[in-house]
Amino acid sequence: MQELAERIATYAAHRMPHATDVAASHVDRIHGGASRETYRFRLRHREAGREVERRLILRRDPPGSLIETDRAAEFAAYRAFHGTAVPVPEALWLESDSRWLDHPFFVMEELVGFEASPQAILAPPYAQHHERLAREKWSILGAIAAADPEKLGLAGALEVIAPADAWRRELDHWTRVIDEDELAPQPIIRAAIRRLRRAPPPPPGRLHVVHGDYRTGNFLYDSEGGIRGILDWEMAHLGDPLEDLAWSLNRVWCWGRDERVGGLTSKENAIRIWEQASGLRADPAALRWWELFSSVKGLAIWISGGHEYQEGANKDPVLAFSSIWLTNSQDRAALEAMGKLS
């Protein structure tokens, strides 16, 4: 990691021309989303006669990942929501030139001292705070849905489409991922895709910011039940806010292996909190469409990771694990959404 530390320091010095004695240390790779290599590190420098140390996160494009994502969109989303009711770390630098660290990357603040694990949230000291965690989780998602992409400056960073095309753009995209990456035929998800195309959902009234991967596991929480940072905006886009709500309710995130969505609360309570916070109504039929869509998207992600692993593009065991562990669960979730599980 010493070489990487030196290269990070060289880059940081380039971005901070007034700083001196720039040094990076404690570089440590962490599992932080499966689409990019994530490292935490400390950056020290002198500026205006004082020594400054910051704990930062580097998110670097890997050779292969679970999902192909747009780092500029992720960076823009962090920038847009920083300082709002949606807690996010401060995004510092976005770099597309591979000469610095071999691949494009961005750097952001590290939020220190919090937990992200979807398993840890099920046990003490966090388990006693599920009511508050649920309230915060779906209130923040409601705040994302209520946000105005224009005012946040995201309309220029994320693709603008007609609201009526939101469902088609997403379904086409994830169907294409399955077409390209499936290692074996997927009869359940193919049936789900046909069903979704036969009966599209009503369009949203306007375009909303969609986080794209809003779930327990992608936010930082504290031991009092507070949510301190929403992470992994790598699939952020403009679209139908029910897409995010449905994804957050996806059965494969029932980490407690019971009916609690996200391992935290009942589905009905989650929807109620989201409706209150967003000021929107989750039309039951439309939400059912997006819930089934969530299984299509989920399966696409799992088989895409499995494909990367099998092809040797990325040998991170998280890709093989997610693919094997969740593909069958996602099929079961799709069966349930289609009313086929008794």
Binding site: P187, A191, W325, N328, R332
Partner: protein, 148 residues
């Protein structure tokens, strides 16, 4: 092979998860070792049932195709259903069973889309049979560690 593969994989997975992973640093490697332990646990589960579930599934699909072929009017599809229905698994190697299973499930997708487009009692009956098999196939593939 002795010790049994299942026992071997159980022990190795346990060692990786509970003995080796906790002592590995940095955290990314620790996490990778833990994931590898859990992966081996799933490999152990699949190793035990691999041939049985593929043989069973291939048999069920061939029988389903033979029944459906009698009512399918599309000549080309009917011939392929008849041909697949008359097939068998000559080799019990998992790779060979996988190859036939892939071909059979690809044909199942075609048949499913075909019957969905028909407004007839026979088509609804085949559709029901297909869904029953898809539920059963999902149960065959289920892992003990699965979140749902």
């Amino acid at each position: 092979m002795k010790p049994d593969a299942a026992k071997l994989l159980d022990i190795i997975a346990g060692k990786l998860l509970f003995e080796i992973a906790p002592s590995v640093q940095p955290s990314y490697r620790q996490s990778s070792v833990g994931l590898t332990g859990m992966l081996l646990g799933m490999v152990r589960e699949e190793f035990e049932r691999a041939a049985a579930r593929r043989v069973e599934e291939n048999r069920v699909l061939r029988a389903l195709f033979s029944r459906a072929a009698k009512d399918v009017a599309d000549t080309e599809l009917r011939h392929r259903l008849e041909s697949a229905g008359a097939g068998s698994d000559a080799s019990l190697l998992v790779s060979a069973l996988d190859k036939s299973n892939d071909a059979l499930r690809a044909l199942l997708i075609e048949l499913h889309a075909h019957v969905e487009a028909q407004d007839a009692d026979w088509a609804r009956a085949v559709d029901g049979e297909i869904w029953s098999e898809l539920v059963a196939s999902t149960e065959r593939r289920r892992f003990a560690l699965a979140p749902f």
